[in-house]
């Protein structure tokens, strides 16, 4: 038996992004001892990449007539349902829209310094799919502000931070999750965490695609640990393709260009110089008549939001991403198979003040001055709406003792997430997951650790170092990325999905023979060997669910089933582990209660 260190806490939080750290604060305030484990250094999680803002209906913004925009949680709720093509869990959305404003104001008390309105309140900017200005922001670095704020607060309330540890297996005692096992990234030494309850806040998974805004961390290990522990995964086919990723230069391909660029007046153009979003075919029926129909009206909206409709560049992300895809497919793209995003008409001073990090990103990394020339953009894999099913009240998963919040969890966003909703998601449900886990820990005792489970995982981890020859994890990862990018991207059909599924199954067989050089001391190749196996399984689940859902809804766009299907609109797909097989079942979506139906009817 290999040796390992053991740590014990009331509540273990896996992941130190916004959701994890907000859970730490909540569990700590409920009186628990809390340990938090992160793969990177503290404060480097993917939350820093969020740019545009945190969506919450504070209603701070004034129209030219001096009246406040009539925003409320009810409008936010309605917008979230519409954006998610009504596949969202109704209760989750209700809690979310109601509690988001409180969570944002609380951040300010913790030390976040948002941009201000002339009246001295938090400034809110317009964003795709949000009816009113609702994205509370700090220039275009809101995610950094958010993570640093909850980081400082969590450090203040007290926790034990375990940096640069990768956990690869949840440990169970009977049905219940009682701990987690993994390795230190620097030395490769094994670690066991025992806890009365666990919050999973491990974020999303985009690294199985070639072009993604995700960092290396987005490999979905948290998701896979939950899946292997028996948790139900919900709507895994729903992956958001953010319409504007950098398309050039090659090294920067996929890096995010914030929707804030469009919120601040940025326009999309094809190679003919046309603002193609005005093409009426691109506006879905649900949004007809709600967007500007001429460029002039779009321009006027920048100054007077009350008497003009917003430009169609601010349609939800799935809609804009499909439009860009179609333009490029029709031969109206740039030389790098992209479209232009142009904000030059807003003036250099304004751009540098409202979009400083975009200016810097293009200037330093791409040698493009966005105050003078257009950016080239193309959809990039950005966010996972699907994930571990978590019930809305306390974020419990289907496995006792395991709670989930943030991008790894599912239920809130339905078939497509609105920009800015992820940051309020992690605050609202990070807090609730922390409280839920603390409540569970109040009556639970530490469970028994089963050495056989640990030994099994050690065998999996060490195998690539023991082989004399075998496959390179990088090579397998690269083939997976190419195939997912080609056949499971924005436009899907049965043939392509079947072909990528066959490839994934082949790669899974080859992955059993991954070999890496060196030892366990800070060895990225060895880390990749485990990550790739997780990614292969996650990809298989995504593809199987995408095959199963025979309709087009939100992010799931099937060329062979191009229409919304009302029957499918009433069903979630649940993926669970069944031995070595992925079991996929349909589950009826909970009915929207009458009072929420009335709200949606009134504000849609």
């Amino acid at each position: 038996m290999d040796s390992y260190e053991t740590f014990e806490y009331d509540v273990l939080v896996i992941g130190a992004g916004g959701a994890g750290l907000r859970a730490v604060i909540a569990a700590r305030e409920a009186g628990c001892s809390v340990g938090v484990v992160c793969k990177s250094l503290l404060g480097k999680a993917h939350t820093v990449m969020a740019e545009g803002g945190v969506a919450a209906a504070l209603g701070n913004m004034k129209s030219p007539d001096g009246m406040n925009e009539p925003d409320s949680w009810k409008v936010h709720l309605t917008d979230t349902f519409k954006g998610g093509a009504f596949l969202n869990n109704p209760r989750t959305v209700e809690i979310f829209a109601k509690e988001a404003p409180e969570r944002v104001l609380e951040l300010e008390q913790y030390g976040a310094v948002f941009d201000r309105t002339p009246e001295g309140l938090i400034a809110e900017r317009p964003f795709g799919g949000h009816k009113y200005r609702r994205l509370n922001h700090v220039g275009d670095r809101t995610g950094l502000e958010l993570i640093r704020t909850v980081q400082d607060k969590a450090v203040g309330v007290g926790m034990s931070v375990h940096m640069e540890i990768t956990l690869t297996r949840l440990l169970k005692d009977g049905d219940r999750v009682v701990g987690a096992f993994g390795y230190r990234r620097d030395t490769g030494k094994f670690v066991v965490f025992r806890a009365k309850s666990i919050v999973l806040a491990t974020g999303g998974w985009g690294r199985m695609y070639q072009f993604t805004s995700n960092s290396w961390e987005g490999t979905g290990d948290g998701l896979q640990m939950a899946y292997e522990a028996g948790a139900e995964l919900l709507d895994m086919e729903m992956i958001q393709f953010h319409p504007t990723g950098m398309a050039w230069p090659p090294g920067m391909r996929g890096i995010l260009v914030t929707e804030g660029v469009r919120g601040e007046g940025g326009i999309l153009k094809n190679n003919k110089g046309e603002r193609f979003m005005f093409n009426p075919d691109y506006t879905p029926p649900l949004y007809k008549g709600q967007f500007a129909e001429t460029a002039e009206e779009g321009e006027r909206w920048l100054e007077d939001k009350k008497n003009n409709r917003r430009p169609p560049e601010l349609l939800p992300r799935d809609v804009v991403a499909r439009a860009i895809y179609k333009e490029v497919e029709a031969g109206r793209g740039t030389e790098h198979k992209a479209v232009y995003l142009d904000v030059t008409h807003r003036g250099a001073e304004y751009i540098k003040r409202k979009l400083p990090s975009m200016y810097e990103q293009f200037h330093a990394l791409g040698a493009v001055d966005i105050t003078k020339e257009a950016m080239e953009v193309y959809p990039t894999v950005h966010y996972t709406m699907g994930g571990v099913w978590a019930e809305p009240e306390g974020c419990a998963t289907s496995v006792p003792g395991l709670f989930a919040a943030g991008e790894v969890a599912a239920g809130l966003h339905g078939a497509n997430r609105l920009g800015g909703n992820s940051l309020s998601d992690i605050l609202v449900f990070g807090k609730r997951a922390g409280e839920g886990a603390a409540e569970f820990a109040r009556t639970a005792k530490l469970g028994a650790i089963d050495p056989a489970q640990i030994q099994a995982e050690i065998s999996v981890l060490m195998h690539p170092l023991e082989l004399q020859e075998g496959e390179s994890p990088y090579k397998i990862h690269q083939e997976l990325q190419e195939n997912m990018q080609r056949d499971c991207m924005i436009a899907r059909n049965e043939q392509g999905l079947n072909s990528v599924l066959a490839k994934i199954l082949e790669l899974q067989t080859r992955a059993a023979k991954i070999k890496v050089n060196g030892d366990t001391a800070f060895n990225p190749g060895w880390h990749a060997a485990r990550d790739v196996r997780f990614m292969l399984r996650t990809s298989e689940i995504i593809v199987r669910c995408a095959l199963e859902r025979k309709e087009s809804r939100g992010a799931q766009w099937r060329l062979d089933y191009p229409a919304l299907d009302p029957v499918w609109g009433k069903k979630n797909l649940i993926a669970t582990q069944d031995g070595d097989k992925v079991k996929i079942t349909e589950r009826p979506l909970p009915d929207m209660p009458a009072e929420l139906k009335a709200i949606v009817e009134e504000y849609k």
């Binding site: 993917h46 001295g120 700090v138 950094l144 502000e145 990394l365 990088y474 190749g525």
Partner: protein
């Protein structure tokens, strides 16, 4: 396609050497791309930290041709010559290759209490004008890459990690000290354990900051002035003594004890 040589430090606390790798370049390639290419195609055991690859997270700090910089923000074609040397930052203990143990920074940060709002605004939405928070927002741009800590000669040459929190934490304290709603008197900590007096304004930190924060001019010097105001200005002391000006009313600050938050690695 042009080929360049990346000369990487390979080794750990017990020793190491410089190793040359041939790398195929592409347009606008950054140094981090080159390291990744080596990992994928030549030696997967090369250790380096990175996350966002967009200069937003501050993970990939290194010394490139001797100059401290982010690997994701340094273009290969900007480096002089066909050989680029990449070594780890030097102020912190080496773990392996380009990775160092920067946990000390987090332990110092843990001693600084977060924002503590004044009683009259606690629990209420703040009303602050943009002009009043512009400076604080400049400080909050910090991505914690610790390049400033790496070049600070108090830490690097004199190794006074026992006496000075370093430029990063000065910026952090400045963002709190200058926050219109904060109620803690942070000057005792500044003068004491944080050691603001150790900085002698060589501005090396400002020069390497990838976020272009004016660390010395906008954070450290004003903090020094505030400490001098409170502790060393005889005129002010006299005016306080005869009641012409009042003592500051902010609440006293207690450094957060080390066992509240444990930073482990």
């Amino acid at each position: 396609m042009e080929t360049i040589t990346l000369r990487l430090f390979r080794g750990d606390a017990t020793g190491g050497k410089m190793v040359d790798y041939q790398v195929k370049t592409f347009p606008n390639m950054v140094v981090l791309d080159a390291v990744h290419q080596i990992q994928a195609e030549q030696d997967s055991s090369v250790a380096c930290r990175w996350n966002c690859k967009a200069a937003k997270c501050g993970s990939c700090s290194a010394e490139i041709d001797g100059k401290p910089a982010l690997m994701c923000k340094t273009q290969v074609h900007e480096c002089a010559g066909s050989t680029i040397t990449v070594t780890p930052i030097r102020t912190f203990p080496l773990i392996k290759d380009l990775v160092t143990d920067v946990s000390w920074n987090y332990r110092m940060a843990a001693k600084i209490p977060p924002l503590t709002p004044r009683a009259d605004v606690a629990g209420k939405p703040f009303n602050m004008q943009q002009i009043d928070v512009d400076r604080v927002q400049e400080f909050r741009k910090c991505i914690e890459c610790f390049l400033c800590q790496n070049v600070c000669h108090v830490l690097r040459e004199h190794e006074r990690t026992d006496a000075f929190f370093g430029p990063r934490q000065m910026v952090r304290i400045a963002s709190l000290e200058m926050h219109p709603m904060d109620n803690l008197n942070r000057r005792e900590q500044l003068r004491g354990e944080a050691g603001v007096g150790f900085c002698n304004i060589t501005k090396c930190c400002t020069e390497v900051c990838p976020e272009s924060i004016h660390i010395t001019d906008n954070a450290i010097i004003p903090l020094k002035e505030r400490v001098v105001d409170d502790y060393f200005d005889p005129v002010r002391k006299g005016l306080v003594a005869i009641g012409l000006i009042k003592k500051r009313k902010k609440a006293p600050l207690d450094s957060v004890p080390n066992d509240v938050t444990k930073i482990m690695r």
